[in-house]
Symmetry: C2
Subunit: 347 residues, 2 copies
DNA sequence: GCGGTTTGATTAATCGTTTAATCAGGCATA
DNA sequence: TATGCCTGATTAAACGATTAATCAAACCGC
């Protein structure tokens, strides 16, 4: 009934070579004292037998599973593929596997997801927290990726600076009235980005902020944002806090007969997959997820290596904010002092 | 140096209750012969001690890790979050963890990613294959999710039928000249979808197919698709094989001053996250990923349970094609026999 | 009251790896 | 030559769970 593992194990190699298992183990790991030529012979033989070490056996003995957990509470965020990819890449470069857990956007099950990972024996985990949740340390080292302004954050993109880049870009193009379009006011990330935009504006500039989720509570999901009205009020730039919202703004404006960027400018955040290929391609700000993931994972790996006794720690890294990079494409252009109003009639 | 696991283990519970470890194990798993009241006592005590079984110990003994691998070779596909979420959900409902592996779109590393999973001791894996690759069975049971027409496929959405739904919808709206917009001609999925559209057209209808990747090889990535010209040629409907391409088409048309759906219709596939919130909301076709994932995972779990000896098998399921559902939104409307040509001048 | 079954528990082996402890020689030094 | 050290290997004890085999006692029919 019990299924024996298919491949050879240490003891098969050992008996086949007439040595002890301990020697084989030492030779392969390079730890004990084994003569050079014997190491050679053992390595060779192991390779030709196609030996692959049993993670279970190793884990049982060492207490380390070699697996990290990745908690993505808001998987609907289209940023997810990039994050998962970056984490997986960094982790496997560091010799770790990645176990995913998501809570389908439900706050209550975030804890449950974390527990499942702990039960599976992960050595540590990377958490991208759901907005406004605070991670109290779990039963293993935890790296948090949120925003630099979040307490307990390990490493994150410098969303604030990214916002400033956008503001300065728009200011340089002559825009003076900017509408910031965000989704959710509780999101640490979106708040940082909005704050950055405001802080980067010149004294003679004016901004308002539109929170979509709040709007949809009254007007229903998928409702129009009323951007044409905003254009009439003199806004010439729409700075969305995510490319998803930028896309929504862009198509609504286009449908209303307002041309981007001739009439108004639209910018986003995150450089999501569609951003370069829509018309016009989106001006946006990109975070270096590979770098962030690399820092998070190596900080985590360090902590795991250091902590002989397994305990819950919020991991800290030396670099905790990574600069975002402005990508200028064609959705932003010089401010048009008098956007064409002819089209506005038929709204 | 070696870090002892923090929590209690079977033997701690056993000595604390004055019974043997075997009895505790039996009581918790409900397998051997233990008296009812002792089972009760043991379960209670284990719970209050916060006992969590060691996956490593169990895995070593049983040869089962309780983990499935998920191979996503083309992670750039924005469909990924839904797939990953569905698989993770189905797997954790079946008591499995999910280890992810991606090959960053690189064909060569797909095999390497699979090997990494095998080395980590997964009990089976779900593979969404990169286009045009054929999965030869690995060292464990494998479920393939691609298209029903792919040899070796386990379960998938009925992309062909989805295509027919689109064609019939457009036919019913009076469209007679349809431009199919796909990305890559080698993709099994996209080919099925295109085939379905063609097969669902009425005899008096005409279609052409535009493959973006081929176009971009000459004209450069992100180049215009020249859809305005197609409108002039009499095409009134643009059926994209993914919402990503639909979005690209929609924005290009809108930017050219062509109104959707008044002038032409645009449809997509997959009901991606932005589809309901762009203007106009996209008519698309949705696959029931939860159902597909559920079927794939339970077929996999069955095979794993059945196969005492661990071997590589391509898993088969009873239901291998799952119907797609047409979602009619506002990007498709009645065919306009003479789309306005006034705007066409300024192209 | 005696062989035989059933019940409820224990014993002990096993999965594959790591690693501390031990040991047998060889070699150098006193 | 006896002592000590170094080298290169072996021994054996874990890690934590599962499970086949065993065992003691109770219970049954005859």
């Amino acid at each position: 009934m019990a299924s024996p593992r298919p491949g050879p194990n240490l003891s098969k190699i050992a008996t086949s070579l007439g040595v002890s298992v301990a020697t084989v183990s030492n030779a392969l790991s390079g730890k004990g004292r084994v003569s050079g030529q014997l190491v050679e012979r053992i390595r060779e033989h192991a390779a030709e037998l196609g030996y692959v070490p049993s993670q279970a056996g190793r884990a049982l003995r060492t207490g380390r599973s070699g697996v990290l957990g990745l908690v993505l509470p808001d998987i609907a965020n289209p940023l997810f593929p990039k994050i998962a990819q970056a984490i997986e890449f960094a982790a496997s470069a560091a010799g770790y596997g990645v176990l995913i857990a998501d809570s389908r956007g439900d706050v209550a099950t975030q804890t449950e997801a974390i527990n499942r990972l702990v039960e599976r024996g992960v050595d540590g985990m990377v958490i991208i927290p759901r907005r406004a949740t605070r991670i109290s340390s779990a039963a293993c080292p935890v790296a948090v990726i949120d925003t630099p302004s979040t307490p307990g954050n390990t490493v994150a993109a410098d969303h604030w600076q990214g916002g400033r880049e956008i503001a300065e870009h728009l200011a340089g193009l002559g825009h003076r009235r900017i509408l910031i379009i965000g989704n959710n006011q509780e999101s640490n990330v979106q708040n940082d980005r909005a704050g950055g935009i405001r802080s980067g504006m010149r004294p003679d500039m004016h901004s308002e902020t539109l929170w979509i989720e709040k709007l949809e509570q009254d007007a229903g999901s998928g409702c129009p944002l009323g951007l044409a009205e905003k254009v009439r009020q003199g806004f010439t730039a729409f700075a969305a806090l995510s490319d998803l919202q930028a896309l929504r703004a862009l198509t609504e404006l286009q449908q209303a007969g307002i041309t981007v960027p001739a009439d108004v400018s639209v910018t986003g955040f995150d450089d999501l997959i569609w951003s370069p290929v829509v018309t016009p391609p989106l001006t946006t700000v990109r975070m270096d997820m590979d770098r962030i993931a690399g820092i998070a994972v190596s900080a985590l790996a360090d902590t795991i290596r250091r902590n002989s006794i397994r305990e819950g720690v919020l991991v800290t890294a030396e670099i905790e904010r990574v600069a975002m990079q402005l990508i200028v494409r064609q959705s932003s252009g010089p401010a048009n002092p008098a956007p064409k109003t002819s089209e506005m009639e038929n709204m």
